[in-house]
Amino acid sequence: MMNDILTALLLVLGSLFSFVAALGMLRLPDTVIRMHAATKAGTFGAGLILIGDAFFYAELGITLRALATITFLLLTAPVAAHLIGRAAYYSGIRLWHKTWIDQLKDRYPAGDPPEETER
């Protein structure tokens, strides 16, 4: 019974967090700000639902699988966000008109991305 209540709570919370992420994806003004919503709230919502899975089944194998998935999401989300942000900045996205700090502007003038070192 306790596990069922916890599972239901985690399911509702996780889906609401995912909904907030999608809402931010739709409503926020520019690419970099949208990435903020997608990466953090989305990963957190999926993680909550996976923890709910672990509570619902209450078996060692399922719990380990859920924890492995959460760990993988937590490891890959920053890497993917970093890559997308870098590619987006160099592909010349326009920042929001109220953004007043762009620390890369002087170091990498527009249309002049640094050489990739590998290969």
Binding site: L11, A38, G42, L50, D53, A68, I84
Partner: protein
């Protein structure tokens, strides 16, 4: 073994509906996103939402193998996001090189 407690059934149904609405919202951004970068971010969010959907569906259907599907999907989605980001990086670099070359040629001619 399907979920037999009504509380869990109601909660998982709610979660499935909300996650579907979220996927549709992200899909709207995927369709109308002004830049390629916006579309890649939307695809990334959609893949995370699908992982959450698979986890919730595994509770709803009482089938644990959907968790394995979620793990595999997360792996492949990460690879896809990385490939798309590198493709965007490469193509923007090539475009700026071309623009530099054209600009250089014009100044040489004059």
């Amino acid at each position: 073994m399907p979920a037999d407690t009504t509380l869990v059934v109601i909660a998982s149904r709610f979660a499935l509906v909300v996650l579907l609405i979220s996927i549709v919202l992200a899909l709207v951004r995927l369709i109308k996103g002004p830049d390629a970068a916006d579309r890649i971010v939307a695809l990334d969010l959609i893949s995370v939402l699908i992982v959450a959907f698979l986890a919730a569906y595994s509770i709803y259907a009482g089938e644990t193998s959907f968790l394995d599907v979620a793990i595999g999907y997360a792996l492949i989605a990460f690879l896809g996001t990385v490939a798309l980001a590198r493709f965007l990086m490469r193509s923007s670099q090539k475009r700026s090189e071309n623009m530099n070359r054209i600009a250089g040629k014009r100044t040489d001619d004059e």
